[in-house]
């Protein structure tokens, strides 16, 4: 496939000598409207009072304003939204179920409404990633889907490629959120397990349920993708350990090379094949970053990594290797995806 540079230039030149294409009318492809009604279960005593309404990447901002940008970073596919009302409840039209923008005291009547927003992402990693971006610190997890948490008038969970938000308005007592969530989750396909890579992070010093997943632009660099970062506190030291999953070892080597170029870093210690190595870079954005890589994994520490990091990084590396072995042995839980 690859020829000499001269031949390559010739091929390129030949390619550019191209006659104008035949004319034809541009016809925009129309997006198929997915069936959204089936996502919303029947609930005794409740009726759908508004929706379902579908939003796409092009229209999501109409529903959640600039908040849509974050969802697009996680390859948002579409959103199905519906509001249920019990008998006689006033309708709440077109209100996003974001708890941050919901009226918590709108009425003291006994009637209630539940808005269910089902965000679908490209895959389970991205759905869980978006969930981690919005999850407050210190939440108590609920056993719904992969994970859930709730407040007085909201409940959010993630399952497979779906990130689901429920908000109850009107009467806040009794709460119907758990009942609704369990009905909704039962009909949604996809994994009920978090990304397997999370199990690889050492427990010592790890802050519980504070991990964040990034689909792209990890640490502000476009070449770092599919990353998980977990904050640690050991003594006075606060730092993050992270894992980036490459497509393969070549992808990881390319990441390291680009990172070194950005950091203007000198040569690093690597094995002869370059598929395994360590480095400490001075990232212009994030300061000192400790890196290790092997195969399809790149892992390290950032945010003033402490001396205690090294043993944690070694443990992380061992567990990532073990994960690969599990994967090659046929375990369904593999990597970040």
């Amino acid at each position: 496939m690859r020829g000499s540079p001269l031949a390559a230039r010739g091929a390129l030149a030949a390619f550019f000598v191209f006659s104008a294409p035949a004319s034809g009318d541009f016809q925009a492809a129309t997006a198929a409207v997915s069936e959204t009604s089936s996502l919303f279960p029947k609930v005794e005593g409740w009726k759908i009072s508004d929706g379902p309404t579908r939003y796409t990447p092009e229209t999501l901002f109409e529903y959640i304003d600039g908040g849509a940008e974050s969802f697009l970073q996680f390859d948002f596919q579409d959103l199905a939204s519906a509001t249920y009302a019990n008998d006689g409840a006033a309708h709440a039209k077109n209100r996003p179920s974001s708890r941050a923008s919901h009226d918590r005291d709108s009425t003291a009547a006994s009637k209630a409404e539940i808005t269910v927003d089902i965000y679908r992402h490209r895959d389970a990693f991205r759905a869980f990633g978006m969930y981690t971006q919005e999850r407050p610190a210190g939440t108590t997890p609920l056993p719904i889907g992969v994970e859930a948490y709730a407040g007085p008038d909201y409940l959010e969970f993630v399952v497979g490629p779906y990130y689901v938000k429920l908000v109850q308005s009107g009467a806040r007592q009794p709460s119907f959120l758990r009942r609704f969530a369990e009905k909704v989750v039962a009909d949604l396909a996809g994994t009920r397990e978090p990304p397997a890579v999370l199990k690889c992070f050492p427990e010592r010093g790890k802050r519980a349920r504070a991990e964040k997943l990034m689909a792209r632009d990890f640490l502000g660099h476009p070449f770092l993708h599919d990353a998980v970062a977990v904050p640690y506190q050991i003594g006075e030291a606060n730092f993050r350990l992270f894992v980036v999953e490459g497509k393969d070892s070549a992808d990881v080597r390319a990441m390291v090379q680009r990172y070194r170029a950005v950091a203007k870093s000198p040569a690093v210690a690597t094995d002869s094949a370059g598929s395994e190595g360590t480095a400490t870079l001075k990232d212009p954005l994030n300061g000192e970053v400790t890196l290790q890589w092997k195969g399809r994994w790149l892992w390290g520490a950032v945010d003033q990594p402490a001396d205690e990091c090294q043993s944690l990084l070694d443990e992380l590396g061992r567990k990532l290797s073990a994960l690969d072995k599990e994967s090659s042995a046929g375990s369904p839980a593999s990597g970040t995806r």
């Binding site: 304003d65 974001s98 009226d103 502000g220 954005l285 000192e288």
Partner: protein, 424 residues
């Protein structure tokens, strides 16, 4: 393992942005546009929008050594022409680098990332002097009907104050500089009295120095309503070169600026890509410059998540001149004659059973989007025979769109032979 972040960022800024950091001065005290900025505006070759006569005489020009600034209407705040939309950034170091580079107006909202966005900003701002940055946040009222843009009868103005208090706690501040009423699309809502009273109270209580409203739908109507209300100091509006009605927005923006409102532009990046396939990126710097060529736009808030994007925005901050090359890059790729509708009518007649729709897509990437890397990547995925058209004589394929399929296939498959490093 030392704390080198700050030094490293400064090094980057010196290298990457021409030492803009050196010019960062107190953000809240200056009140006039710089000479350099006026020079930028006068250098434009296209007929740009005319600046609105100032409603009040400007204070004498404060000759700063920093990046160009414009006065944000009657707020009197001198803002950098490029600010930061923080909505999808979760890396505090990126915000720190932006601040160090002279991008000191930060725009967030109560609802972004369910409040995590404001919390992240709080971790950055706690280490900064309060007069070294300008912070804007937005509050959305839950009783706004998204379809009509109207508030329901249950609307409580108090919701604004309640949410603002939460936002201030997340940000670690006792006041924000600008409080926007989020996402307005109807005149009636912009003028809705319970809301106006609540906004006024926030200002009176010292929790918001200035008031604004944001809009990305029916912008001209909203902007004019904001003027009419005589309460708002700032308007945050969608404004980009791809809007069908951008001339109407431009006119309304001019009127609002003339009335003394500060104008902040958003969505200047116009969707980032020309196409749904995300193969044809828009020239972000040119798109940003396009909005800034309007002197009535006082600043823009592009969102960015990477160091590269920050660097590009810093370059625009330093020089926002819209060049002829920039203008050309903002002309839409001509897709007429390129877009395969995927009807698949070509598949059966093709004797070689080639994946013709995919080949037509590759052809479009190469010739319409000028993205030859994407075109080649697609080709290499297709597992084509060495000579795709084989020994076919007369091609039996008749494209429903009239494409000369044989010619296009023969043309595009040659791209397989070009080494990737030659594909620019």
């Amino acid at each position: 393992m030392n704390n080198t972040n700050k030094l490293e960022r400064r090094d980057f800024l010196k290298l990457g942005a021409g030492g803009l950091a050196a010019g960062v001065l107190s953000a809240g005290c200056a009140t006039a546009a710089s000479t350099q900025e006026k020079q930028n505006l006068s250098a434009e070759t296209a007929a740009p929008p005319k600046p609105a006569p100032t409603a009040e005489p400007a204070a004498p020009v404060a000759k700063t050594a920093g990046p160009p600034r414009r006065v944000l209407g009657r707020t009197g705040i001198e803002v950098p022409i490029v600010s930061m939309g923080v909505m999808n950034a979760d890396n505090p170091n990126l915000v720190r680098a932006a601040l160090d580079g002279g991008i000191f107006l930060l725009d967030t909202a109560h609802g972004y990332q369910e409040g995590r966005n404001e919390e992240m900003l709080g971790t950055v701002l706690k280490d900064r002097k309060r007069d070294s940055f300008v912070i804007a946040t937005k509050v959305h009222l839950s009783t706004l009907d998204r379809k009509t843009g109207l508030f329901s009868k249950e609307t409580r103005g108090e919701e604004i104050g309640e949410k603002l208090d939460i936002s201030l706690k997340r940000l670690g501040l006792d006041h924000v500089d600008i409080l926007h009423l989020h996402n307005q699309s109807a005149r009636e809502s912009v003028l809705y009295e319970p809301v106006l009273k609540a906004l006024e109270k926030a200002k009176r209580d010292g929790k918001a120095r200035f008031l604004g409203c944001s809009t990305h739908k029916n912008e001209p109507e909203v902007i004019r309503a904001a003027v009419e209300a005589k309460l708002y100091d700032v308007v945050l509006t969608s404004y980009n070169f791809r809007q069908d009605h951008h001339l109407e927005v431009q006119k309304a923006v001019g009127e609002a600026a003339q009335a003394g409102l500060g104008i902040v532009a958003m969505k200047t990046q116009a969707g980032v890509y020309w196409d749904k396939e995300k193969q044809s990126p828009i020239n972000m710097k040119a798109a940003l410059k396009w909005a800034l060529r309007d002197p009535n736009v006082h600043t823009a808030i592009p969102g960015f998540t990477t160091l590269d994007q920050l660097q590009a925005d810093l370059e625009v901050l330093r020089d926002s001149t819209l060049t002829d090359d920039d203008k050309r890059s903002l002309e839409a790729p001509k897709l007429v004659g390129f877009f395969c509708q995927g009807c698949d009518q070509c598949l059966d007649p093709c004797l070689e059973k080639l994946p013709i729709p995919e080949l037509m897509r590759s052809f479009m990437y190469a010739h319409a989007y000028r993205n030859r890397q994407a075109a080649q990547a697609l080709l290499l995925e297709l597992d084509l025979p060495e000579s795709p058209c084989g020994d076919c004589g007369a091609c039996p394929v008749r494209c429903a769109k009239g494409f000369d399929v044989r010619q296009r296939v023969r043309d595009i498959v040659r791209l397989r032979e070009v080494p990737r490093e030659f594909l620019i």
